[in-house]
Symmetry: C2
Subunit: 352 residues, 2 copies
DNA sequence: TTGAAAGCGATACCAT
DNA sequence: ATGGTATCGCTTTCAA
């Protein structure tokens, strides 16, 4: 193992100069800094992590807690983990995984042992037990998601309410007076609150504008293809021609396939908006107007907030809601038929 | 922060006694060890991670490298990550995530800085670049998967060849002389070698026993439901009545739904074996005979091998293949019709 | 602009 | 069975 002493000797300077040259915390003449850098690369020097943690006040590690429940949607979750890891590395931090069933134990342990500089919390539940721990430990903690009781907590999340408003507004502006929200699984409305935030905002906005908004979930636990299929059939039979989809990719696919079966053209006969999807909707059979949920944005902000706190910035604990962005792809009809007309011209067959 | 000094003072002993009492590396009288433990819990003492890493020769951290390519099947991957994390924690180790596009950089860094005690390699490709690095660094490395060039490498994996043999044997023993292997996606046969290991073993065994084995992949990149659907239809039309499924859950579901549509009863009219599935097949509509791929087994063994190396055991670098286990659920018919009979009694309609 | 040296908080060797 | 202390490799204050 190469130590800082060997680098110092090779460069003909003291170890403190090497340390400062590498950290940049003290000016070092261009000449010596060059010699030091040469020595570093020549010897393949890499500061000892343990020594750095002990002497410095930084471990350069973030903990990432993720309960990984059985109902977690793996692809979405992976996207967040990956985005966090990449954002952290860019700032010089590694990610330590805390997947314990009892995330509490892990959080306390890494905080008490000073293993990590900050804690990032993923997959936040409304009544998350990690809230109490975050308050108890002195390690800076950032939630990616918003628990019910978020007083004095630092949180980052998409503004799901704004997503709901935006989606309803677009369809309403296009002339629809009724629309269908294809939501998440039943369990996700219980275990998280972001689906509710979108739903309630959409319902309120619809009520304000005198719009008839229907809502269905996409299965009990996991997304149930059959449930989605019949829900869509049913909605079409009842005259629905405008859809807001807040769901996983499978649900999008089922919706599009039913529309295709019926010969309904998206952007002409029916309108569809994908709301808060974290996958690439442009890979679908039909491109959809999308209000994307970009994990990178949330995760980068979370990492940034953590780093800034470590750098001494005195940030107020608050919720950071990322404003939604609307990506048009022509899936909303410009001047649709009114749904009552639709109903008139096409008598609803019995479902099934 | 509570230090070992405070614990020592509270317990009225020296710091070395505290250290030994906690590590158990030296006998300590029951009386004093009790006082020390009391002090530890009273003060909520947790040894400083950095100090431990520097003074001891253990960081109590394992690195887990996972390239996370776009075609990675998220649920399967998550199962492995989770299993590894749990196995490691049980042995007192945390998991540091290395998800870099260039896993090389991360591996070199954590090895050189002595951030981790060992490296676990996930999602192994046939020509994995991490093989070279594993050979270069002195940090013990265990592959979960088997690269093409595994000379001098420590690897753990399911014995996929044995899985293939076993599946073919069961169906052959049941009297089938032709069978269909529903395989993985095309890309997985290129990016990994475990699908090939199963396939080739099955083909060889089939050839030995004079059995007609067909094989199809389940889509180009991601599993394509339509592709699977027509492949199964086609196979049935050609008289196939025995299936080996080496694929994700979606593929199982499509197969079962086609069989149901046709009114073919699993275990009577047709036989199905699920081979090397890492999800819970008992949750399917029909219970299937399964040769499961249990991530826990591979991951626990990998962790165990890493720990034993750290404990000084001089293990020879070799491949550890886990023998398959056959879980019967009655999905293989006991005395099936010969496929030629089947063909005779049911003229094959043209597909589609 | 640079160097010397005092910690950081454990582990583990050498004594007693 | 227990205590004293050198040591790990770095960061950072204090001096020059």
């Amino acid at each position: 193992m190469t130590t800082i002493h060997e680098v110092a000797k090779a460069a003909g300077v003291s170890i403190s100069t090497v340390s400062y040259a590498l950290s940049g915390k003290r000016p070092v003449s261009e000449k010596t800094r060059q010699r030091i850098e040469d020595a570093v690369t020549a010897l393949g020097y890499q500061p000892d992590a343990g020594a750095r943690m002990l002497a410095g006040r930084r471990t350069h590690i973030f903990a990432l807690t993720e309960p990984l429940r059985a109902d977690t949607h793996a692809p979405t979750h992976m996207a967040f983990v990956l985005a966090t890891a990449i954002a952290a590395r860019r700032r010089g931090y590694d990610i330590l995984l805390l997947t314990d069933e009892q995330a509490s134990e892990g959080m306390n342990r890494v905080a008490a042992s000073r293993l990590v500089d900050a804690i990032l919390v993923l997959d936040v539940a409304p009544d998350d037990e990690r809230v109490a721990i975050a308050r108890a430990v002195s390690t800076p903690t950032v939630f990616i998601g918003v628990p019910e009781d978020h007083n004095q907590l630092m949180c980052v999340d998409m503004d799901f309410a704004a997503v709901g408003d935006l989606a309803v507004d677009r369809l309403a502006d296009a002339g629809y007076n009724r629309m269908m929200l294809l939501g998440q699984t039943e369990v996700s409305y219980r275990r998280s609150n972001f689906p509710r935030r979108l739903l309630h905002a959409a319902q309120d906005r619809a009520a304000e504008r005198g719009i008839d908004l229907d809502w269905v979930t996409t299965g009990e636990i996991a997304t149930d293809t059959a449930v989605v299929h019949s829900a869509v059939e049913n909605a079409l039979d009842r005259g629905h021609r405008a859809f807001i989809v807040h769901a996983v990719d499978d649900t999008h696919e089922v919706l599009l396939s039913v529309l295709a079966e019926r010969g309904l053209a998206v952007g002409t006969d029916v309108s569809v908006i994908s709301a808060a999807a974290s996958f690439d909707t442009t890979a679908l059979a039909v491109k959809l107007d999308t209000i994307p949920l970009v994990p990178q944005r949330s995760c980068e902000l979370a990492v940034d907030l953590a780093v800034r706190q470590l750098d001494g910035e005195r940030l107020v604990p608050e919720i950071h809601l990322l404003p939604p962005e609307y990506l048009p792809f022509g899936s909303v009809a410009s001047s649709p038929l009114d749904s009552s007309d639709v109903r008139a011209e096409r008598p609803a067959p019995t479902a099934d």
